[in-house]
Amino acid sequence: MPPDEQTSAFEAGPLMDSEVTRLVDHLFRREAGKMVATLTRILGFENLQLAEDVVQDALLKAMQNWAFGGVPRNPSAWLMQVARNQALDAVRRQQNFRSKEKQITAFLEHRSAAQPASVHFEDEIRDDQLRMMFACCHPLLAREAQVALTLKTLCGFGEEEIATAFLTSTAAIAKRLVRARQRIREAGVSLEIPAGHDLSSRLDAVLQTLYLLFNEGYKASRGEDLIRQDLCDEAIRLTTLLAEHPAGNQPKTHALLSLMLLSGARLSARVDAEGNLLLLAEQDRSRWDRAMIQRGLAHLNRSAAGREISEFHLQAGIACCHCTAASYEATDWQRILTLYDILVETNNSPVVALNRAVAISRVRGPEAGLRAVELIPDRAALESYYLWHAVVAQLHFERGDFSKAASHFQRALELTALTVEQVFLENRLRACREKLAAPGA
């Protein structure tokens, strides 16, 4: 227990069995993100590493003390006070803080006096996180460095966890983070919420990074389930934070948030009880998260406030069509196709074009879908993509060409490394073979 603190935050209740579960899931991770954001504001962005070390020490003290002595009444305040003390020690020890020691000390002391539950305090923490968000997504940094830094500093992920999420090595992530911090120091990037002329483009960069973060979690083709769900949750949390702040409260932010919520609401229904991947048509729609869909629709409404139609607007609109359809058959494919038609004009991604081809096949049949697939520019890039083969295979299957369907399912099977997808494709392949073996095939 820190020696010089006798305030209410340190009053530990006796450790009861039931209290073990009272500690909020991911509390350490959440608080780590908040504390790093606040301390970095006080110590300066160039001292990000110091802030992270101080927070690590505070969590370590909590881990050791709470296990023996029980959880304090206000765990967040306890952690922040310990981190504050560690930071004060570091400031007093280090020569390079001498010039601003008084200012930093005064600030840290003021902070501890603030009532943790007050609205003012909550606002400050939110602003600290937003400043950090804009700084981590600074255009100076490569996008993958932005994502790694956001996960490390704002979401409290460890290097190993980030590496797991991105299927790369811990060493590679560590190197990426070191370089990013170095870049920040060299360029003198400051912690601030951009305003005026800068705001729009800086906001775009943040939204793109949050979108990428969400997509990493959402796509089924890599990483561990648990980490992926966490990535989606964190992306939604940060985007919500942004949407509620005057700097981020813009139609495109609400559109992105809506897209995340309307997609995230269906996440758990994508697999059955055995963990097998389900097609949209096969999903049990009663498992979709209705509350999340409602939130998503509310933000979709708020996204319609301006004249701008961003890519997020279009994608959220498509997700909305799926979420509001009572059944697969009742889906408004015509509207989805219209939205894809607009989307392909600004986004030349072959994956978007592939999705559009699927929408065409729902409206005009599998033959039309296959013709649309043929017309995709950059088709070569798609041919090493398992989903391209899976789509083509499914369209051939629907028009009764089981032999072509089988060869594309086979190719798709060879291109995916994920077990759930392999199982799914093997089942499709078996269906083709049964059709081929059936009399009259």
Binding site: V20, L59, Q64, A67, G158
Partner: protein, 120 residues
């Protein structure tokens, strides 16, 4: 003559390396300790226990004239905390210690019976 009491001292050494743990891993590690210690408490075995800071001093020589600063040994040999448990005998105390989460991270538990001097 000192005789054995029913109290036993656990000394914890080593275990998880906090410098390498993520916040999530720390919380999970703490939860495991909670569970183990909660069980000792609910069975009435827990008597006392605290973690130890890795700072400290070692005194030696005449009248303790030689004072050295901690940490004094390698991380895996450093005592990180202690616990006093009540048990029937050394066998039971040893069996209780087997549930300690420190073993998930290559740590050790030293179990020592506390001697009790009658009449004092």
């Amino acid at each position: 003559m000192p005789e054995q009491s029913n109290d036993f001292l656990y000394l914890f050494r080593g275990g998880a390396d906090p410098k390498r743990m993520s916040p999530e891993q720390m919380q999970q590690n703490m939860n495991k300790w909670f569970t183990w210690m909660g069980q000792l408490r609910s069975e009435g075995k827990f008597k006392a226990g605290e973690p130890l800071s890795d700072e400290g001093k070692v005194l030696s020589g005449r009248k303790g004239s030689v004072v050295s600063d901690g940490p004094f040994v390698e991380g895996k040999e450093e005592v990180g905390g202690y616990l006093i448990v009540a048990a029937k005998d050394l066998n039971e105390a040893t069996a209780l210690a087997k549930g300690c989460p420190i073993f998930d991270n290559d740590g050790t538990v030293e179990v020592r019976p506390i001697e009790h001097i009658p009449g004092l």
